[in-house]
Amino acid sequence: MIETLQWTTLAICGLVAAARIPSALRGENRSLFGIFALMTLAILLSIQGPYVVIDQAMGGINLANLLLRFVVFGAIFFLGIRVSRGFGADGAYRLITGRSGLLVLLTISAVMVALFLLMDTSGSSAGLVAISAKDGRNFALVEYYGAAGRAYPAFVALALVPPMVRAVQERLPLLVRIAAGLLALGGAAVALTLLFPLIPPALSAVEFIINYSAVLCYVVGLALIWTARVVNRQARSRKTSTET
């Protein structure tokens, strides 16, 4: 079931990213295409099969996992900028792009790289499961490394939840309000990942479900806003064509 969820998410992300290629070539909102492309890459890197292939090509020391973390950071950073600007959430925008936001990003990145270097990272393993199983020291390092990797996305996601909840209640087109609801839900799911250490190992499937539903909420939400714009444009051109 987890595999199905992973591949479905990958397919949806990839399709949306591919669908954005024409508009990206026209120069419309290229960063949106970038967000979708980064998300697709992140999902690809989180699935065992593709992960091992890519990591082997990078030397087999799980550098791909570190890459995955930074891909996620990049995607969530640009997503945070776009969404907060679009919805006029100035507070969230300042929090993400201001000095404190960048300081959080730098600190977490530095800590994460340091923890990665301290680990014995030989032997490709998605999610560093095999590394964690090596010994107590590596287990602890992987836990802290994972926590650092979840901290920054949660920071951005939490900053976006209040403005999204407000947007749901505003007088906006219905599709946009549904999209804002999905973005709020995605943000809440990302924030929930902070609680992963509390989840017993027997329920590790819950972690996958939370992760992938967060990505799905974000991707579908953003795609819906885009759809709303297309729908609106068509409605408007139909109106003008009947008027003339």
């Binding site: 419309e28 909102n29 949106l32 776009r82 969404v83 600007r85 679009g86 919805f87 006029g88 505003e170 007088r171 906006l172 087109p173 946009v176 953003l222 806003i225 885009w226 709303a228 714009r229 609106n232």
Partner: protein
């Protein structure tokens, strides 16, 4: 507020004794499937009664008054108040009337154009504002059980169910049919408003009264337009960044 199918059938018998359902639909311009559906559900729309009344040259208000829920419409005619009459003049007509008043334009000569028929784009809200002593909405809410925010939402959309329109008129102590004119269910003539009554009411306003009234209307219109523009700007910004 719909009308029970049984009562409707009885009324239809009295107004068009020998007509088949098909005849009634053809004459009144109602779709056969629509009427059939309303009869099957047991609830006939008020509009249906109004259309059929007109088709058979009966007064729609008198027809409605025969049904239990609309009995308040029966009784002696209740002339509209001046405020109600003026509320049913569109903002554009009010402004045109103001422009030819001597206070605005000392050079006399032009005459105000003929008033457009009621209802107009904000006629429901203007009507309620015109008869509201400040507590009418609370009284309507108490007597009908409709939440104040739902009532306000209807006014903003320039709608009001016949039930609420009549309850509002009763609560404000004006003629029960005024709200049905403001919502466009019946015409002024059908409601028994004298011809030219709105024009007479408008002419009786002093320059000062008319100017203040036009100012209020403009302010309300400006608020609506500004809000619409803000919503539009916000949506555009979302699309600019995320579309």
């Amino acid at each position: 507020m719909s009308i029970p199918a049984k009562a409707f059938q009885r009324w239809l018998q009295s107004i068009a004794p020998d007509a088949s359902t098909a005849d009634v639909c053809r004459v009144s311009g109602i779709k056969r499937t629509t009427l059939a559906q309303q009869l099957v559900r047991g609830k006939v729309a008020v509009n249906t009664v109004v259309s059929i009344s007109r088709a058979y040259h009966a007064n729609p208000v008198a027809s409605l008054a025969g049904f239990d829920d609309y009995s308040v419409l029966a009784g002696p005619p209740h002339p509209p108040t001046k405020c109600e009459l003026v509320s049913q003049i569109s903002t554009a007509d009010l402004l045109r009337a103001l422009l030819v008043r001597s206070a605005m334009d000392p050079v006399q000569g032009a005459s105000a154009p003929v008033l457009g028929p009621a209802p107009h784009a904000t006629s429901v809200k203007n009507w309620v504002d015109a008869i509201d002593d400040g507590e009418v909405r609370q009284r309507v809410s108490a007597s009908t059980g409709v939440a104040p925010q739902n009532y306000s939402a209807q006014l903003t959309a320039n709608r009001l169910s016949p039930e609420l329109a009549m309850a509002t008129a009763v609560a404000a102590g004006v003629g029960p049919v005024g709200g049905l004119v403001a919502t466009g269910l019946v015409t002024e003539e059908e409601a028994g408003w004298p011809a030219g009554a709105r024009q007479a009411a408008l002419d009786s306003l002093s320059d000062g009264e008319l100017t203040v009234l036009a100012g209020d209307r403009l302010q309300a219109l400006g608020k609506v337009l500004r809000r619409h523009e803000q919503d539009q700007a916000q949506t555009e910004k979302i699309w600019e960044n995320l579309g």
